[in-house]
């Protein structure tokens, strides 16, 4: 009895980072807002670096409520896509080298999204993490939390429902 030799860590990392980069890099609106994703194993943290164009109230100043909402929605949607990509990569049914902009799994569609604004968004970087509470064959429910300086002082949270695309690749 001998176990197969584990893959070198760089190979595993490169595969996972490539899949994430292809998933996120292909979405123009993510680039427009400047959102980045930090990966630790399968855990993603979305980062929204502060920028003048994100301001909604110049007198406070505060981040636009629509930016907060968009940031949360993108984080929820990417988490949902990523969790299914991750599963397929780990099972070996998906090779990220075969992924490019024209061969990506289709993105989930938002059905509804409810944002709870807890504090005004300060003119600083913001972070968000999402959790898939339920993911069936067709529908998924995702919760997402965002904070700035302190992880325990959320400035917004949201719950959204998504329609999960079929397994066939994008047309």
């Amino acid at each position: 009895m001998s176990r197969p030799k584990p893959e070198p860590v760089q190979v595993v990392k490169e595969r996972r980072d490539r899949a994430l980069k292809t998933l996120v890099g292909g979405i123009p609106y993510v680039q427009f807002l400047g959102i980045q994703f930090d990966r630790r194993g399968d855990e993603l943290t979305a980062v929204l670096p502060f920028d003048e164009k994100l301001i909604g109230n110049p007198f406070l100043p505060a981040i636009h409520g629509g930016v907060t909402s968009a940031f949360l929605e993108i984080t929820a949607m990417i988490e949902l896509s990523w969790s299914s990509l991750w599963e397929d990569m780990e099972k070996g049914t998906l090779d990220p080298r075969a992924l490019d902009e024209s061969h990506m799994p289709r993105l989930p569609k938002t059905i509804d999204f409810t944002v709870d604004y807890l504090r005004s968004g300060l003119p600083r970087d913001a972070y968000a993490r999402a959790r898939v509470n339920r993911s069936g064959r067709r529908y998924a429910s995702v919760h997402v939390e965002a904070w700035q300086d302190n992880r325990s002082r959320l400035f917004a949270q949201a719950t959204g429902h998504f329609l999960i695309p079929g397994k066939d690749p994008r047309p």
Binding site: G26, I27, P28, Y29, Q31, F32, L33, E52, K53, L54, I55, G56, N57, P58, A62, H64, G65, G66, V67, S69, A70, F71, E73, I74, E101, M104, R106, L107, K109, T110, I111, D112, F113, T114, V115, D116, Y117, S120, R170, P171
Partner: protein, 147 residues
Amino acid sequence: MTDPATDPTAAQRFIEAIPHSKALGMRLEAIGDGKAVISMPYDERFIGDPSTGVIAGGAVSALMDTCCGAAVMSFPGARGTATLDLRIDYMRAAKPGQRITARAECYHATRTVAFVRATAHDEDETLPVASASGAFTMQSVTKEGEA
């Protein structure tokens, strides 16, 4: 409602004062008496799904949030507002290439809270792209201790 066509500078100032609304190219079409109409052009930078070219839900929600906030600000006696919660239902994908227009109405307000609903359409007005409902804080001129 005030027609911004008769006072385009005031309408433009409203949008110019909000950096993110300006970044999204929003245009104030009408405002007054607790109602607002704001539109946003199609722009490839706002695409959420590259395989279809459909605008990101987040951009539509930014438009809805701005429009709801503007409706509250135009409610008689309102002085300031912030979003408490906002729910958006996405009924269908907006057609790529078409302008999106949001209409919001502040249908009830107390001295402290404003209730708002909104819809968004592309150039087809028969079925909305999205609808929204939310609660906003209301800083009104009649607040105690203030003029």
